[in-house]
């Protein structure tokens, strides 16, 4: 009963399975494949941009490459990989046996591979070239590949909505005895806020995509400008989802680092309730800021001010989190393991992304740098420096739990170093290029930007290379790494109080939770949050 992986073997990952742990791994591995594909497209983009002139790709191919890069990275990598963490961890963290709707859960996953194939097949149907934002009329007039793009994102949206229903229902109805809301791990709080956003924002994108698909496939006139169709309507519908989508991508990341800091600083998390509530505040405020993407779209100038203010207000809950994490490490007994390094990298790089977000929310600055590389630098610091760093941190942190094996720490640290240098080298020059006026989404540029772009290209290739040690480490350790203990980091949250990997039913007996999950340091010997369910599942102590 305690040997989870060996008996059923790797084959169960390739078929319909309703175990949330199998589905979690399916999500994570599938999305990582799309990450590699999206990264390969980024390498193509950076090769083109290494020198001025449209020398490698023509304009249309460049547009297809950057469109698919953006869409793959957002819709098929970060969104599903955090859903994978949610699937794997939430039932374990709240002391449940599975998600509330296991079959619906499997369906949410199985929508993703066909959607990904649909997206990639757009290359063979003339390509999708309207960018990940698919602004009309570009996305209406484009080649047939644009229809496949819209259908693919539509499917991914369904997957997200079903996942959100499942996460919310699971957290609300399936917590173990004693697991009150104020004892939920912060990752669960982050996923709760994320699920609320997915549930409320995604359907609006679904509606918008249906309008685009109908225009393209049936011949309706929602966005036919000559019949009175309004391109701004698409921008409103799109950003009503896609700005909250930024929080959908960053709130789980913040949840991941909130788990990691107390473990590797051996201190109780600072401001538990403030971190939990700031996630909720971001979820609510996040619904009110979308039009800051449209300052230059010809909106009523009087509407700009409220959107600027609401966007800036988001800095407050975000700042609360950052200061809480720093305070958690203050005088801590810090262990610089790979997850901790990535979590620290997350703070420093996400901070740059977050602060430049305030620049962009400021109307006069935005009018100047809109659609320049400043925006590209900003969003990559948030999504790569932020979300991807946290995803890596989480992959290393839970690697022993998920695989039952320990990864190689030295290769992990080397991965962090290359990744950290590569991120900063790739994206910092973009701020400068943007401020100097280099427009985004163009294959060619003025020769005065050559050296900045060359640095970015070198950084980009470093990021490409940084994946190699990770893959080597992950694959080799998964196959042949030393067996991991149930609780190698001496963590207190529930997922570590069962074996590594956990048995199919997670806990032999559902644990009874008796206190807060972050009582590190101040409790002698750091007791687990719950009485170990059985001796076998009880972990290392």
């Amino acid at each position: 009963m305690m040997t989870a992986t060996s008996a059923a073997g790797w084959r169960r990952y390739f078929g319909w399975n309703t175990d949330h742990k199998v589905i979690g791994v399916q999500y994570i591995v599938t999305s990582f494949v799309f990450f590699l594909l999206g990264g390969a497209l980024a390498m193509v983009v950076r090769t083109e941009l290494a020198a001025p002139g449209a020398d490698v790709l023509d304009g249309a191919t460049y547009n297809q490459t950057m469109t698919n890069h953006g869409t793959l990275m957002i819709f098929l990598w970060i969104l599903p990989v955090v859903a994978g963490f949610g699937n794997y961890l939430i039932p374990l963290m709240i002391g449940a046996r599975d998600m509330a709707f296991p079959r619906l859960n499997a369906l949410s996953y199985w929508l993703i591979p066909p959607a990904g194939l649909l997206m990639l097949s757009s290359f063979f149907a003339g390509g999708a070239e309207a960018g990940w934002t698919a602004y009309v009329p570009l996305s209406i007039g484009g080649p047939p590949g644009q229809t496949l793009w819209a259908l693919s994102v539509l499917l991914l949206g369904f997957s997200s909505i079903l996942g959100a229903i499942n996460f919310l229902t699971t957290v609300i109805t399936m917590r173990a005895p004693g697991m009150s809301f104020w004892r939920l791990p912060l990752f669960v709080w982050g996923m709760l806020a994320t699920a609320i956003l997915s549930l409320t924002a995604t359907p609006v994108l679904t509606a918008g995509l249906i309008l685009v698909a109908l225009d393209r496939m049936v011949g309706t006139h929602f966005f036919t400008v000559s019949s009175g169709g309004d391109p701004i309507l698409w921008q409103n519908l799109f950003w009503f989802y896609s700005h909250p989508a930024v929080y959908i991508m960053i709130l789980p990341a913040m949840g991941i680092v909130s788990e990691i800091f107390p473990v590797f600083a051996r201190k109780p998390i600072f401001g538990y309730r403030m971190i939990a509530m700031s996630s909720m505040a971001i979820a609510v405020l996040g619904m009110t800021v979308w039009a800051h993407h449209m300052f230059t779209s010809g909106m009523d100038p009087r509407l700009r001010i409220p959107f600027m203010v609401s966007s800036m207000v988001i800095a407050v809950p975000t700042g609360i989190k950052i200061f809480s994490w720093l305070a958690t490490t203050w005088y801590g007994k810090i262990r610089l393991t790979t997850p901790m390094l990535f979590a620290l990298g997350f703070i420093s790089m996400f901070l740059i992304g977050g602060l430049t977000g305030i620049f962009l929310a400021t109307i006069p600055v935005d009018l100047h740098v809109h659609d320049t590389y400043f925006v590209v630098g900003h969003l990559h610091f948030v999504l790569f420096g932020g979300s991807v760093s946290a995803v890596y941190a989480g992959l290393y942190y839970w690697f022993p739990k998920i695989t039952g094996r320990q990864y190689d720490e030295r290769i992990g640290r080397a991965h962090f170093a290359i990744n950290f240098i590569g991120t900063n080298l790739a994206y910092l020059p973009m701020f400068l290029a943007g401020l100097l006026g280099m427009p985004r989404r163009v294959a060619d540029y003025d020769p005065s930007f050559t050296s900045l772009n060359l640095w970015a290209t070198i950084g980009g290739f470093l990021l490409g290379i940084s994946v190699l040690p990770f893959l080597y480490n992950a694959l080799l350790s998964w196959a042949r790494g030393p067996k991991a203990e149930a609780n190698p980091w001496s963590s207190l949250t529930l997922e570590w109080q069962t074996s590594s990997p956990p048995p199919p039913q997670n806990f032999a007996v559902i644990p009874t939770v008796t206190h807060h999950p972050y009582a590190y340091g101040d409790t002698p010997g750091a007791e687990a949050v719950a009485a170990p369910a059985t001796a076998g599942a009880g972990g290392s102590r």
């Binding site: 309703t18 919310l168 005895p177 049936v218 309706t220 039913q505």
Partner: protein
């Protein structure tokens, strides 16, 4: 069923879950997402209604659609009666009310089909202009939801005839009812916004 799902179901029956049934909560959350979906379509319709004026609204037959609205609203009553009959231990009566619900749902859809056909004869089609596109998309998606509801009602009816529901095990009927009432409420919104408000 996979082995881990068995004790999982037992935990639910043990009533560990805040007193909220997970199926009911799941349905409410699904409805929340549907509210946002229709919100997006309604926003598109209203945006164009107020920016373009939509002179085609003159062609809408408020009386015919008003009758159709009454038909759909009374179907909510039959759904409530079906659930009440089941909970009172009278499954035969429940089946009768479900049949009535199905008849009313089909009647509404027929009325909608008649309305669509009349508009097509007047030259207002899905592709004739922004009004046609947004009107048929919005009301058509509602009609699709009614059609799904009718299919669901048939499934519940067949389950009821097989004896799948009892006074104590009525959740399946109740959840169907939640969906049906939601679809009704959407229609009240649409009827008001499209047909009544100038």
């Amino acid at each position: 069923m996979s082995p881990h799902a068995m004790p999982h179901a037992e935990d639910f029956r043990a009533g560990q879950a805040l007193g909220v049934d997970h199926r009911k909560l799941g349905m409410w959350l699904f409805i929340a997402s549907e509210v946002m979906f229709f919100g997006g379509l309604i926003a598109a319709y209203l945006h164009y209604k107020y920016s373009l004026g939509f002179p085609e609204i003159e062609l809408l037959n408020v009386v015919q659609v008003g009758v159709n609205t009454l038909i759909l609203l009374s179907s909510s009553l039959t759904v409530v009666s079906a659930l009440a009959a089941l909970q009172a231990g009278r499954p035969g009566r429940m089946a009768l009310f479900l049949v009535l619900t199905i008849v009313l749902g089909v009647a509404f859809l027929s009325g909608q089909a008649y309305e669509f056909a009349s508009l097509y004869r007047e030259g207002v089609t899905l592709t004739s202009g922004v009004f046609g596109s947004s009107f048929f998309t919005l009301t058509g998606f509602h009609g699709l939801h009614v059609a799904i509801g009718v299919v669901w009602a048939i499934v519940v009816l067949l389950g009821g005839l097989r004896g799948a529901y009892t006074a104590e095990r009525s959740m399946g009927v109740e959840i169907f009812g939640l969906y049906w009432h939601f679809v009704d409420i959407v229609w009240i919104m649409l009827f008001t916004l499209i047909y009544l408000i100038p």
